[in-house]
């Protein structure tokens, strides 16, 4: 009897840690069986990665912010603004593509710095602070674009960034891979990353260890802001235009992926690898639904259900495993 209990416990704690990964493979398996000609192909594999890449960048940045223990609700609006700003600077102000991109990335970083300063120095709760800054960013967006999409005068040099391929692999996927590797190294394998994790785990203890907690938090917001801007730039590049609301929906997708990821491998902890799994689950699900020709509303139903299901099951099985 006692052995059975401990066996159940092992199963439950395995489920808590690897449940999302199992889920991902099961989903991929089902799609492969149901659509053997469409789903399990190399082309579709790249397609899934391509669709996942923009979400991955913004969710990766958000992961750093949540690891330091803060939420950032401004990232979707920052992404939209970045898309409008980069196309505008190129098409209307005639800036070179590279310079425009660097400026806009800096602008995303600046949004993050402002978020961080308001949270750490003015001591506003991060939900409120980033909601406020996000709303201001929407305002700036409309002020710059007057709400009209920027379509005319976007050069091929800019659209080729997202649409181009190297050895058949879309540029978006390559950029994302480099960025995710960088973020993972930053968080998991650098002294700064240890400080980032420490601040999230226990800010009081971190301060008493001699870590400058405020700076680390500002850094977390800055990374989230830069990543949001990068997502916005790549989105504008792939659309060939800057639209005022183009990146807004990435906010919810990023949060869904980050929290799905927290239910992966580590007990309720946020981490880059988990976020990758979270982004992939959503991307594979969307891809499968698209292959079967499901209506758009199913995507939202799927995203909501999978989020609640994965995080709920993981935390329940952790609870029962420890009981």
């Amino acid at each position: 009897m006692a052995r059975r209990v401990s066996k159940n416990r092992i199963v439950l704690s395995l489920l808590a840690k690897y449940g999302t990964i199992f889920g991902l493979f099961i989903m991929a398996g089902i799609f492969s069986v149901l659509a053997p000609n469409a789903f399990p192909t190399f082309g579709n594999f790249l397609n899934v990665l391509n669709q996942a890449s923009l979400s991955m960048i913004i969710a990766g940045g958000l992961t750093v912010a949540v690891v330091v223990g803060e939420l950032d609700l401004s990232i979707g609006f920052a992404a939209s603004y970045a898309g409008v700003l980069v196309t505008g600077l190129i098409a209307n102000q005639g800036l070179p593509v590279l310079l425009a991109i660097v400026l806009v990335l800096g602008c995303g970083g600046l949004i993050g710095v402002v978020n961080g300063l308001i949270v750490t120095k003015v001591r506003v709760n991060s939900v409120i602070a980033t909601l406020g800054i996000g709303t201001i960013v929407v305002g700036l967006n409309f002020a710059y674009s007057t709400g009209a999409p920027i379509v005319a005068g976007v050069p091929d040099a800019f659209t080729q960034i997202a649409l181009g391929r190297i050895w058949g692999v879309p540029n978006d996927v390559l950029i994302t891979a480099v960025l995710v590797a960088g973020l993972w190294i930053l968080v998991e394998r650098t002294p700064v990353g240890q400080s980032i994790q420490a601040v999230g785990a226990n800010p009081v203890a971190a301060r008493l260890c001699g870590i400058r907690v405020d700076r680390i938090k500002i850094l977390g917001f800055t990374i989230a802001g830069v990543c949001a801007a990068l997502t916005g730039i790549l989105l504008a590049s792939s659309l060939g235009s800057g639209t005022t609301g183009a990146g807004d929906s990435y906010l919810l997708a990023a949060f869904a992926a980050v929290f799905l990821g927290s239910a992966t491998l580590r007990d309720g902890e946020f981490h880059i690898l988990g976020t990758c799994i979270g982004v992939l689950i959503i991307a594979v699900g969307f891809n499968g639904l698209a292959i079967f020709g499901a209506a758009t509303f199913y995507q939202y139903l799927f995203q909501g259900v999978i989020l609640i299901l994965a995080v709920g099951l993981s935390s329940l099985s952790r609870y029962f495993a420890e009981k």
């Binding site: 002294p191 990353g193 240890q194 785990a201 009081v204 203890a205 008493l208 001699g210």
Partner: protein
């Protein structure tokens, strides 16, 4: 005072882990009695109160209310029986007003399902008048002084028809005049038949206010006496016990030619530090003793840069030292092991290696110019510190939550040993740590001092410092009131100085 006790406790025993907090305690509290309860930290006072409050269940022994045995299943039941507890921290809701706090948790009169505050105010006002509340009841609690908050807490107890009110260190943050006002109210309550269990470290107060005093030591009742049959000296002996002091095994040679590592002069910070000056030698273990609220913790927070002083100067290793943050202090070579281990020292949910690396991240780069974490060196350091401090863990990847309290404490200390700070400050290093681990922690501290590290140890347990320190400074009311060296460091001397300062000043 009537003949039959309101509350009777018989043979109460309670243990926490390996520690026997109560070893068979008897106590009678009569209606209309102000009953003093005294004892050193860890003597079992708080455990007794927790049992009476229904928060902890005793292992054995019985509790009788009005002569009827009861088994308390929770704090609500204790409240229903007329037992009321005012803790030192008062547990008031700061953003609520006085009336809402008074009624917190009490059944409220409603009108059509809506709380009828006007009726409640009419019901509470006479009680408030009785305890001397002269301010409107709609004032937010955050705007009240500590004394006024005490009155609110007493009023809350009376509204709930308390027949016993336990007060924990009520005068700790009150002025003399406010204290006298409180004594007047306590006496008036007793006159109306309410029993008061008065817990205090201040012997003069107990002698003046309490007709009967009970003293605890090491989980036993060691004295139970009428006031007129009691002297201050007897009370002190009862608290301290007659144990022989143990002196430090490697006493430092004081050498006046060497400059001190840390020189503190004229430090003032608010009301908690009122002019503190002292020197700390290299390789010295300096104890900071004193009652809770004497300013010890505030002093080390200033030394560590966690708080800024109002005035005063510090020198560290012959350099001007004014840390504006703990990070500054760490850069100077100061480390702190905080009092609240779990809340302020430990990164829960993280591994042993993670915790041990955190104070030394700069040294864990693969190359000085390459900001990548040297994971292998981190593991080596974790293993080395782990074996040096004899941390019992299955591996360096073990999540620290799974370690025992003593081993967690070693982890919190251990993170400072990698870079070997010049000064290590330990606030209550053996709180919540069992006897074996405590011995090991003491051994570690002495070893570090022999290697030349200076150590400041804060401890509320008066038997801890004699065994550990070369020198002890006793603090009271924000000042250093006594300096003890070598063989003069005894438990007696520390307790005497802690309690005696106001008697000698008066």
């Amino acid at each position: 005072m009537s003949d039959a006790p309101f509350v009777s406790v018989r043979g109460l025993q309670k243990h926490f882990g390996g520690i026997q907090a109560l070893k068979g305690v008897d106590l009678d509290i009569f209606p209309g009695e102000v009953h003093g309860l005294v004892g050193a930290n860890g003597a079992g006072k708080s455990t007794l109160i927790k049992v009476l409050a229904g928060v902890e269940r005793p292992d054995s022994g019985s509790l009788l209310i009005d002569g009827v045995e009861v088994q308390l299943s929770g704090s609500q039941q204790a409240a229903d029986l007329g037992l009321s507890f005012i803790h030192q921290e008062l547990n008031l809701v700061p953003c609520w007003n006085a009336l809402e706090n008074i009624m917190l948790g009490a059944p409220k009169r409603t009108h059509l399902g809506v709380i009828d505050w006007q009726a409640i105010r009419n019901q509470v006002q006479p009680v408030a008048d009785k305890v001397g509340i002269h301010f409107p009841l709609n004032v937010p609690i955050a705007r009240l002084s500590p004394a006024e908050k005490w009155l609110i807490s007493i009023c809350r107890a009376l509204v709930r028809k308390a027949r016993l009110i336990s007060m924990d260190e009520p005068t700790a943050s009150l002025s003399i005049r406010e204290s006298e006002n409180l004594f007047r109210i306590v006496r008036a309550l007793a006159g109306e038949g309410v029993a008061v269990l008065y817990v205090s470290h201040r012997l003069d107060e107990l002698m003046a206010l309490c007709p009967r005093v009970t003293a605890f030591r090491d989980g036993r009742r060691v004295m139970h006496s009428e006031r007129n049959a009691l002297t201050r000296k007897q009370l002190l002996e009862a608290i301290v016990g007659g144990e022989a002091p143990v002196s430090a095994n490697n006493p430092i040679q004081y050498d006046n030619l060497r400059p001190p590592l840390l020189r503190v002069s004229g430090l003032v910070s608010g009301n908690s530090i009122r002019g503190v000056s002292f020197d700390l030698q290299q390789g010295e273990v300096l104890g900071l003793a004193g009652l809770v609220g004497s300013g010890r913790t505030e002093l080390v927070r200033v030394i560590f840069g966690a708080d800024q002083p109002d005035s005063g100067t510090m020198m560290f290793a012959d350099r001007a030292y004014a840390p504006r943050s703990p990070a500054d202090a760490v850069n100077f070579g100061v480390g702190l092991v905080p009092e609240e281990r779990r809340a302020e020292g430990l990164f829960t949910g993280k591994s042993l290696a993670f915790n041990l690396a955190l104070a030394n991240l700069r040294d864990l780069r693969i190359k000085p110019w390459l900001p990548l974490l040297d994971v292998r060196r981190r593991a080596d350091i974790a293993r080395e510190i782990g074996s040096r401090l004899q941390v019992k863990a299955s591996s360096i990847g073990t999540i620290v939550d799974r370690l025992s309290g003593g081993n967690q404490q070693k982890v919190v200390i251990g993170k400072w040993l990698v870079r070997t700070p010049k000064l290590l400050i330990l606030d209550e290093p053996s709180r919540g740590v069992d006897v074996g681990a405590r011995g090991e922690i003491h051994r570690i501290i002495r070893e570090l001092a022999v290697q030349g590290m200076s150590v400041i140890v804060i401890s509320s347990e008066s038997e801890e410092l004699p065994a550990l320190c070369d020198r002890v400074l006793v603090m009271a009311e924000g000042k250093i009131v006594r300096e003890l060296r070598g063989s003069t460091i005894t438990r007696d001397a520390i307790v005497h100085a802690s309690y005696h300062h106001n008697a000698s000043a008066a």
